[in-house]
């Protein structure tokens, strides 16, 4: 599979981001029961995963979760102990890197310091007995693609970090690989450049339609860029899903906790499927945890609906809340975080547990929320997720 850039945007579905890129697309990368063992330590414990053609997948997890190990196994840089990897239907499990088909971009850019930008990009093109003119044209095209045509004759050290990373991307794409591997490509850049380059890479990927796997520990980055996110922890995959899925519907406590802010409320399952927590009973999203089990109820700060001081907020539309799970709280502390207020709330019904709620500036003004004031909040039933307590 080769992506022809010259042909402009290939037949990529216009709306790939929502439902997972091309649900109809065939699978391109298949990973099956991958193990990587270093002595007694297992970095990957039987990981299986399928990436579809043209999809942008992010491996997300804390450091040491195995995401980089997995990427390097795909690249053939660190051979897995056991397991199979197929790319485009071909078993590449034990192939050396040079026999695989991918381009790779590292956090360090790994640009050759003694070669000019154009020589760097041409590095992968030069041995294939290509005519010089063709190489030049291709380099020019790639430089144009990353918007750095003016820098062709410069050395990497003369470019900014963001520019260097774009050159690294161009170099990786020069040989039109079937798979693009990005190993924390933005981690070395400062925040503004990072956000900017995030979109640029995503745009480029969409334009070229190249199947892409990116490793990151930055959830925002993953949420913003990925078609699907693979959340990993301790060598296993916790959840695979679109950004909305992993954010809205985390399937494990780890995912819920790792992605976004959460309030974790210890609770017990009641006979009716509802939860008992400290002095209160809560309705919650459907679950299949046996009655009597100790569980952790999770709700995100942004999902908490404020109803003003002591009563349901008068002007609020009916659609907001179902008036279930109403809790009287006291506002202990407020912190202004630019686009919203982070409020710390306590309630006798939750014992000494502190709830965190993120309220819009608008809501705070409207409901006159202030430190020391009382506030009635609603924990919408479908946003109260229940997970079995971890052993």
């Amino acid at each position: 599979m080769r992506h022809e850039i010259l042909a402009g945007a290939p037949a990529t579905p216009t709306d790939v981001s929502l439902a997972g890129a091309g649900a109809a697309m065939p699978s391109y990368l298949e990973i099956e029961a991958l193990w990587k063992v270093f002595g007694k330590f297992a970095a990957l414990k039987g990981v299986s995963l399928t990436v579809k053609e043209g999809e942008f997948v992010c491996f997300l997890g804390p450091s040491g979760c195995g995401k980089t190990t997995l990427l390097r196994a795909i690249a053939g840089l660190d051979l897995q102990t056991q397991g199979t990897i197929r790319q485009g239907g071909r078993d590449i499990s034990t192939l050396p890197p040079s026999k695989r088909d991918y381009g790779i971009v590292f956090q360090s850019y790994a640009l050759f310091p003694n070669l000019t930008i154009e020589r760097n990009i041409a590095f992968g093109l030069e041995n294939a007995k290509r005519p010089k003119a063709e190489i030049q044209a291709r380099v020019a095209e790639l430089l144009d693609l990353v918007g750095l045509s003016a820098q062709a004759k410069k050395y990497p050290a003369q470019l900014s970090g963001g520019q260097q990373q774009r050159i690294a991307l161009a170099r990786a794409m020069a040989i039109a690989p079937g798979l693009l591997l990005l190993d924390e490509p933005l981690s070395a850049l400062d925040a503004k450049v990072r956000v900017h380059l995030r979109h640029e890479i995503k745009e480029l990927q969409r334009k070229l339609g190249v199947t892409t796997v990116m490793v990151t520990h930055d959830q925002e980055e993953a949420l913003a860029m990925a078609d699907r996110i693979v959340v990993m922890n301790h060598g296993v995959i916790e959840q695979v899903g679109t950004p909305t899925e992993v954010y809205r519907h985390p399937t494990t406590l780890f995912v819920a906790d790792f992605i976004g802010e959460t309030n974790k409320i210890p609770a017990r399952v009641l006979a009716n499927g509802r939860l008992a927590s400290a002095g209160t009973e809560l309705a919650c999203a459907p679950h299949d945890i046996p009655v009597g089990s100790a569980v952790t109820a999770v709700i995100r700060p942004v999902d908490i609906i404020p109803h003003g001081t002591g009563a349901r907020s008068p002007g609020a539309p009916d659609t907001v809340g179902t008036l279930e799970n109403l809790v009287e709280t006291a506002v202990v502390k407020m912190e202004f975080l630019g686009s919203f207020w982070r409020c710390r709330l306590t309630s006798p019904r939750f014992g000494d547990h502190v709830l965190v709620a993120d309220l819009s500036i608008n809501a705070v003004r409207r409901l006159r929320v202030a430190e020391g004031a009382d506030m009635l909040i609603e924990l919408p039933r479908d946003r109260v997720l229940v997970f079995a307590k971890e052993g």
């Binding site: 029961a33 193990w35 063992v37 297992a42 414990k45 039987g46 990981v47 299986s48 690249a75 053939g76 840089l77 051979l79 897995q80 102990t81 056991q82 397991g83 499990s93 034990t94 192939l95 050396p96 890197p97 040079s98 026999k99 695989r100 991918y102 381009g103 790779i104 590292f106 360090s108 850019y109 790994a110 050759f112 310091p113 003694n114 070669l115 590095f123 992968g124 041995n127 410069k154 050395y155 990497p156 050290a157 003369q158 170099r171 990786a172 020069a174 040989i175 690989p177 591997l181 296993v236 995959i237 916790e238 959840q239 695979v240 399937t251 494990t252």
Partner: protein, 670 residues
């Protein structure tokens, strides 16, 4: 979600399919590793085994018959051991022998008289038992009949076995063991002096704003460019009985410990200076600011900040200097007089007395302090790394007139010392007959009229140094690249690294002697290189491997770890990356290794003094041999030729470096 199995399924771990590149890389690494094994590990092993190889008279392997007074009627044969058991004539300690030991048998017969008509028959019991009649060698189980007069001239020859006898002999011979103390004392005194002098210089270079720093740096590097014999010769001219400054010694002789110490200070100074200067250069200005803000006096700051900050450098330098002094052979050979040092003892045992086994014993002893120093140095170096932090602020000295002038005066003194040593050699080399005829002449440069190999030796040295620089740099750099930038093969890489570090702990004399034992063995298929230029080049590369290897490694470590992965992903063979990126980027280090190898190949004596042949005499060895033969002025002249050659090589290195770097390192200055 994840239905992952909790245990690794049984079954063999996957093995990677090997790419052509990996085979080439691994092959290269194995080739270089074999090279190190053959040129380093094997000779050392043979040397060690030689030190426990013992010559001993095996009396049980000889049989004697004796006739009656008529010269007829021989008695039943008895072994010499039986006879000795009866008479006790040969004491047990007489049975230990060197390789050329000889044992007379007449003492076995109390009534022996060379005029008596009694006849004797003698034979060896096996094919290896041998004895001399006069100086004729006899061997094997055929009876030899001798009259009494001839029997007087019989001497048994020893047989070879294994044991610690050589070491026992060594330690029970005070004239030999004395050398251990002598070496240790000289080593300690010199180390103390050099560290103080070098620290002063380093302090002036890094902590003052004195004038002429560049000049002083150049001058203090000079001793590296000459063989260690040259300061010895210089000292003869300066402080010898006809010396210019003879009176300074107040009647003490320069031949002996005084000469060795002064000469050792000269040739080890640059080594210590480099290490300590690096340690001081990396000092963190923040510590000084802290000390100043706390109101510490300068003196207190010096002892609480400066010295502790450089302590690892100082320790490291001390061990390097100690090892250099103890293992150097040229200087004590020239100026040592009767003051025995271990390294000279190896030479005396091997060349003077052909006692290879005892030479091996002294080698093993010399190995002990060198290995110990090496281990301590490694330990210290590994700790030093943690001292440097990325946030350190370089210290910039402020001008202080009095202090700067004091530094200047101090450096001037040291510079005068170094230049005087070199200058006096040049002077002595240019006059007719020191001190009686001071007419200028070039006669002392007519090396062809002297022992030592003549001008051919000089050209041999240049050839050898060039070959060493070219092949050495190639082997070292490729080896370091394979160790640093290849994957897997962990045991092999660890072994390789060990082998690469080994030469640091092996004194040249020891290496050279090991080479004799290993290569000068007709059973060795590599015997053919013995006596050729090849063995000199091979030995020199091995001798100076470690520092070169570390230089290459440091340069390679600064390269992004992912270059190889990127190149592989771009389907580029490793050699393309190697030649297009690795070599150009590491070119400064490559050139440094080449000049290091060249200069050392020009000046080294210790290993090669055992290995050169008539066709491959060398300039540095010629200095030694001419001095040895008493032709001191020509020796000084040859030493100066080496010096000028090395200076020229340095200049060429600079020019090449400038030009090549301008081409390949443009990115650094961009």
């Amino acid at each position: 979600m994840s239905a992952a199995p909790l245990a690794l399924p049984t079954g063999p771990a996957l093995r990677p399919q090997v790419a052509g590149d990996d085979i080439v890389k691994r092959g290269l690494m194995i080739v270089i590793m074999l090279y190190l094994l053959v040129t380093l590990a094997a000779p050392l092993y043979v040397l060690l085994s030689k030190s426990v190889s013992v010559y001993r008279f095996d009396l049980a392997t000889f049989e004697i018959q004796r006739s009656d007074a008529t010269g007829q009627n021989f008695s039943a044969p008895k072994t010499v051991a039986q006879l000795n058991a009866e008479t006790g004539a040969i004491a047990p300690d007489q049975l230990e022998a060197g390789s050329d030991g000889r044992l007379s048998l007449t003492s076995l017969f109390k009534d022996f008289n060379f005029r008596s008509p009694v006849k004797y028959r003698l034979r060896g019991m096996d094919a290896s038992a041998s004895f001399l009649i006069g100086s004729e060698l006899h061997r094997g189980p055929d009876w030899v009949e001798l009259d009494s007069n001839m029997f007087r001239r019989v001497a048994l020859r020893p047989a070879t076995t294994t044991g610690l006898d050589n070491f026992i002999t060594y330690f029970s011979t005070p004239s030999l063991t004395r050398a251990i103390w002598n070496s240790a004392i000289i080593g300690i005194i010199t180390t103390g002096l050099v560290i103080v002098i070098a620290f002063g210089l380093a302090y002036a270079f890094n902590r003052s704003r004195m004038r002429g720093k560049g000049f002083f740096r150049l001058v203090t590097a000079i001793p590296i460019l000459v063989p260690s014999l040259l300061p010895g010769i210089a000292l003869v001219y300066l402080f010898g009985n006809q010396g210019l400054l003879k009176d300074v010694l107040m009647g003490h002789s320069i031949y002996g410990p005084i000469g060795i110490v002064i000469g050792s200070v000269f040739f080890t100074l640059p080594h210590a200076l480099m290490i300590i200067s690096t340690a001081l250069a990396t000092a963190d200005a923040r510590h000084y600011e802290a000390a100043t803000s706390l109101g510490a006096t300068k003196w207190r700051t010096f002892w609480t900040v400066t010295v502790p900050g450089a302590r690892y450098g100082i320790i490291s330098a001390a061990f390097v200097v100690f090892t250099l002094v103890v293992t150097d052979f040229g200087l004590p050979k020239v100026i040592g007089g009767q003051y025995n040092m271990l390294a000279v003892d190896i030479y005396k045992q091997v060349i003077g007395q052909q006692n290879f086994e005892m030479g091996a014993v002294v080698s093993v002893l010399l190995l002990v302090p060198a290995v110990a120093a090496f281990l301590v140095d490694r330990a210290v170096q590994s700790r030093q790394v943690s001292l440097l932090s990325a946030r350190s602020v370089p210290y910039a000295p402020k001008p202080k007139t009095a202090f700067d002038w004091a530094c200047f005066a101090y450096c001037t003194l040291v510079a005068i010392f170094i230049l005087a040593m070199i200058g006096v050699c040049q002077l002595a080399a240019s006059v007719k007959f020191w001190p009686y005829d001071l007419t200028p002449t070039l006669r002392n440069f007519r090396f062809d009229l002297m022992d030592g190999g003549g001008w051919a030796a000089y050209y041999n040295s240049i050839t050898m140094a060039l070959l060493t620089a070219i092949f050495g740099t190639g082997i070292v750099f490729v080896g370091a690249y394979m160790v640093e930038k290849s994957d897997g093969f962990h045991i092999g890489r660890a072994l390789f690294h060990f082998l690469a570090m080994l030469p640091m702990a092996v004194p040249g004399m020891v290496l050279g002697l090991g080479y004799i034992f290993f290569f000068n063995n007709p059973a060795n298929p590599l015997h053919a290189i013995y006596g050729t230029m090849a063995i000199l080049v091979v030995c020199t590369i091995s001798h100076f491997y470690t520092v070169s290897h570390l230089t290459a490694l440091t340069a390679l470590k600064q390269m992004d770890r992912e270059f190889e992965a990127v190149a592989a992903s771009l389907k580029q063979p490793f050699h393309r990356l190697f030649f297009r990126v690795t070599i150009p980027v590491c070119l400064p280090a490559v050139l440094d290794i080449a000049i290091y190898m060249f200069v050392n190949a020009m000046t080294t004596v210790s290993a090669l003094v055992f290995l050169y042949s008539t066709q491959t005499q060398l300039a540095s060895v010629a200095v030694l041999n001419m001095d040895d033969a008493g032709d001191i002025a020509p020796a000084a002249a040859m030493g100066m030729m080496i010096f000028y050659t090395n200076v020229a090589a340095r200049l060429v290195h600079m020019v090449i470096a400038r030009r090549l770097l301008a081409r390949t390192q443009a990115w650094r200055y961009a």
